[in-house]
Symmetry: C2
DNA sequence: CAGCCGTCTTGACGGTTGTCCAAATTATTT
DNA sequence: AAATAATTTGGACAACCGTCAAGACGGCTG
């Protein structure tokens, strides 16, 4: 009897703790999303916790309560954002019935991303550069990089499949290529170069058939 | 007579001013080189003028005397360093008598760069990311990027030439590819991934024949 | 030698930063 | 309803930042 009561109490305790954790984490994400606004605007270095708080509905103390550190916060932010990123092209990949359809769907998404989410992506590049100096960032950054590489690879293999071919290069090389192109286009776009987007699209359109 | 004296005086004045300018600029470069030590270690955001001064033989006041700004200093630093960078492979390009010779020479330099100058290159990537936020950096960064693209293009055209072919892609795409590969390898290398260098070499060795 | 000029040193200033904490408020349990 | 725990607030703190300016130093010129 006593033992049963103990067991039941334990189950309840475990359940409530899990619930608390979930709630805690949901709050973290909520705060991270608010922080992303300011981070995307100013970059990692120039953004202080106070500034993040001021541009949001929260006080700066809350951030310290939910995040052990400034690094902890940033990591959570970019992790959260990139989790959405890696699925961006999946719909196009699964629904496209021909090479052309895939190409156009991919290019459209690419252009929209460059135009509408430039600030978020520059934050990603910022963080990736910081990872070269700050070991605390490396694990997360390398992990995100891997998942982005996989995302590009899904597109490439599907594209090749639709032409009854196989990709001509490795996943790493392919990701490096697209990442390099996107990064360059992003910088030009942010520098108000109006040809940045069309140039990127032309380049990718020309490249796709040659590598698959 | 008076007019002649004036002219002579003007010539002297112009000459001495040019000399002063030259001396002034030489000092700037000297300071920039000292600053690069600390910048390569800590990155742009974490490095203060005081820290730069402390890790060098100069006081922090001198830096303010020779540079109007922190941005001014950093720009001078990376400009100076990258001016040397873009000539790194030129000797290999001009002396190589065959495709193999060019390949091996290029790969050797590439590996040496990754190993010996990792800190300087991460600073470059840092600055390039900052340029996405800080307009003051953009002009210099875009210019350096262009000259790096030209450097890669010189290698590619020479490589193609030695095989009586022409490069199969644009300068921009080629630079994006190599830059992306190098950046990824650099991050892995800094994260103590011992396979970073050999993996990069393998990748480039496989890639070269396919793009030219 | 006196005066000037370019160079450099040193210390101080206002402002911002990350961090911490005690108190207030709210939610949850007993 | 009382008590306990979780959450939130807003201010205090020391450390640090970029910038600046007053003055010191040393060589050059008149």
């Amino acid at each position: 009897m006593a033992r049963q009561a103990t067991r039941a109490a334990q189950r309840v305790a475990v359940a409530t703790e899990a619930l608390r954790d979930e709630k805690f984490n949901a709050r973290r994400v909520e705060l991270a999303e608010a922080a992303l606004e300011t981070l995307g605007e100013l970059g990692f270095a120039r953004t202080s916790l106070r500034e993040i708080a001021q541009n949001s509905a929260f006080t700066h103390g809350v951030f310290h309560y939910y995040f052990s550190d400034k690094l902890d916060l940033i990591c959570c932010c970019v992790r959260h954002y990139k989790a959405k990123c890696v699925t961006r092209y999946d719909e196009v990949v699964t629904t496209a019935k021909s090479r052309d359809e895939l190409t156009e769907g991919f290019l459209a998404k690419l252009a929209a991303t460059l135009r509408d989410e430039a600030r978020m992506h520059r934050l990603w590049y910022d963080l990736r550069s910081q990872a070269m100096f700050e070991p605390a960032f490396r694990k997360d950054v390398l992990e995100i990089d891997k998942s982005l590489e996989a995302m590009i690879w899904r597109i490439a293999t599907r594209y090749a499949e639709l032409g009854n071919k196989k990709p001509a290069s490795s996943p790493a090389a392919l990701y490096a290529l697209f990442d390099g192109l996107f990064q360059s286009a992003l910088l030009r776009h942010l520098a108000n170069d109006e040809k940045a987007v069309p140039d990127l699209l032309d380049e990718v359109r020309r490249l796709l058939p040659t590598i698959c």
